[in-house]
């Protein structure tokens, strides 16, 4: 049994949430325990968009940790979800990314499931010509894949394996729900999907999306090109339990070199300026001055508003030292052509080739390699103190500590 107590038989973790031992990114036993206690624990995980499964019978396949799952639109708009594993021999029930179906039939031996994941029939259950078949007492109702609770908010569909988990909104907490609804406020449309493989433990990315401290230090695009954001107020809103965070950069917009050009200054630095900054035009669309809002949901989901570039990032672990980051870029169904074009151009900012995000693709790997021989050494997470409360600065690691607070609680470690 891989649980926190067993793991602590061989590993040490100082008390508190401002120190992280490197073995948590390395030990396969930790990853197995995370599957049970975090991915299958009392936690809601992003699965897909409402618009991915708009019609009766639409389904989409994804993952909760290592577990393959199917998300389905049932009768009268109901959402269903279940483990993508046949009750018979364990084969994938659905092996496409998405589709529309009346029911699901396992390819291996044609065991059939309804849209809720209930086992409906077993091929040749009574045998053929009175021979073979399942024992008379075999009860279909006693067998089937594990079911999810599924709910949606702002057009984003989430699921949990744990019947004892709080409701989705209670899990997210009111301040975080408000941040989600600020952006995800009407019908979405997918404008692109990309997967980025990150050669690092999934928790390094979970920390990264909460790490407001690194943003202006690692990602040098804005500073290099002298793209100044005036009135850079901002801060971090953290859910009362520390699990989720929303960071905001507030300002009148971004000022690019055209300001300097207009004033006839900095001409000697022309070579450091952008030739075509049209993609940075500011188009406020949410009725406020928040230019950037990043919402990190426990454990590994990020909802991005970078000016007009909107995306959902979903973390899927791939072994102890790898993960897939699934990017879903979205617009609104009622976007004007101009707004849609702006979203396409601003997709340059974040993504596998993003001006202000590509470094996140390699930085976790630098850590993974750096700590290769340092299992028993520890990382320091002390910017902004020792707790995980909301702060009116981004020079803090409070949200990262919030992640570890919830991690240690759920892992009992």
């Amino acid at each position: 049994m891989d649980d926190g107590a067993t793991i602590l038989n061989t590993h040490h973790w100082p008390a508190g949430i401002s120190r992280v031992p490197f073995w948590v990114y390395q030990d396969p036993a930790v990853l197995r325990a995370e599957q049970k206690r975090i991915f299958e624990g009392p936690v809601w995980h992003f699965l897909c968009l409402d618009v991915d499964i708009e019609n009766h019978g639409d389904y989409r396949t994804t993952f909760i940790g290592d577990m393959p799952v199917v998300v389905v639109r049932g009768e009268a708009g109901a959402l269903h979800g279940f483990e993508n594993r046949c009750a018979h021999r364990g084969a994938l029930i659905a092996f496409n990314d998405d589709g529309n179906t009346k029911d699901f039939t396992c390819a291996y031996h044609a065991w059939r499931y309804d849209l809720q994941g209930n086992l409906c029939s077993v091929a040749f259950q009574r045998g053929v010509g009175g021979k073979g078949g399942m024992p008379a007492e075999f009860d279909l109702r006693q067998h089937g894949p594990r079911k999810l609770r599924v709910d949606s908010i702002g057009g984003l569909v989430f699921g949990t394996l744990d019947p004892a988990a709080p409701t989705l909104e209670a899990f997210l907490s009111p301040p975080i729900v408000a941040k989600i609804k600020r952006v995800f406020n009407r019908k979405l449309e997918v404008i692109g999907r990309f997967t980025q493989h990150l050669p690092n433990n999934w928790k390094m990315y979970a920390e990264n999306i909460r790490d407001t401290y690194h943003a202006s230090l690692l990602h040098l695009f804005f500073t290099t090109f002298k793209i100044t954001r005036f009135d850079q107020a901002g801060g971090v809103t953290i859910s009362p339990d520390g699990a989720h965070h929303a960071s905001a950069t507030i300002g009148k917009g971004i000022e690019t070199q055209s300001v300097y050009k207009d004033q006839g200054i900095r001409s000697d630095n022309e070579e450091f300026l952008l030739r075509d900054d049209s993609f940075l035009a500011s188009n406020p669309e949410f009725g406020d001055d928040i230019q950037l809002q990043n919402v990190a949901l426990f454990p590994g989901t990020m909802l991005q508003q970078l000016y007009n570039s909107l995306a959902v990032r979903q973390t899927v672990p791939r072994g102890v030292d790898g993960m897939d980051l699934h990017w879903t870029f979205v617009g609104f169904a009622d976007d004007t052509p101009e707004m849609r074009k702006m979203r396409l151009k601003q997709a340059n900012l974040a993504g596998p080739a993003g001006y202000v995000s590509m470094e996140d693709g390699c930085i976790g790997n630098f850590v993974q390699r750096g700590v290769a021989a340092a299992s028993d050494e520890i990382a320091i997470v002390e910017m902004g103190g020792y707790e995980s409360e909301s702060q009116n600065t981004r020079a803090t690691e409070a949200s990262v500590r919030g992640f570890w607070k919830n991690y240690r609680r759920l892992m009992e470690i």
Binding site: R193, Q196, L220, R275, F279, A347, P352, A353, M358
Partner: protein, 158 residues
């Protein structure tokens, strides 16, 4: 049926394009494009579903020059190099609007420590027009990768 001359010109352009990127002469890369252009990196799945976003999306040569400047001055990543192998182009159409062509590619990425990976496979979907000197340049180059997945990051253009 387009002539051999067109096929030769397109193939020569593709060869020069690959040599420029693989030879780390990125400053010359925007010169393969018209001032008004489209350069986009996307995936076959996005194209099939009519999704227009790319991980790189430039609608001017200026944006390509900015991409190069960012790679050189701003973005941080481990040293690596590409080796493009671009197959024989197909000339799909040639009319007053330009030449529509398509060519398959493979890109091997070699990292600092010698690790070599088949980084990308796919096809270029191109619209080519002559510039004022008569040389063919890209009005559009859409890089359609077969895989939806990119390893680590995409800094150097494909």
């Amino acid at each position: 049926m387009p002539g051999m001359d067109t096929l030769y010109q397109v193939s020569a352009l593709n060869t020069a394009y690959a040599a420029t990127i693989d030879g780390d002469r990125l400053e010359d890369w925007p010169g393969f494009f018209h001032a008004d252009c489209l350069y986009k990196i996307t995936t076959a799945e996005n194209v099939r579903r009519g999704r227009l976003a790319g991980i790189i999306y430039a609608d001017s040569r200026g944006m390509l020059e900015d991409r190069v400047a960012a790679i050189r001055r701003a973005n941080i990543f481990e040293t690596h190099a590409y080796r493009h192998v671009i197959g024989m182009a197909s000339i799909l159409n040639e009319d007053a609007d330009g030449i529509r062509a398509e060519a398959p590619f493979l890109v091997v990425r070699t990292m600092r420590d010698g690790q070599m990976t088949l980084f990308a496979a796919g096809r270029y979907q191109d619209l080519l027009r002559p510039d004022e000197t008569g040389a063919l340049r890209f009005a559009e180059r859409v890089v359609i990768c077969d895989s939806p997945r990119f390893d680590t990051l995409v800094a150097i253009p494909l």
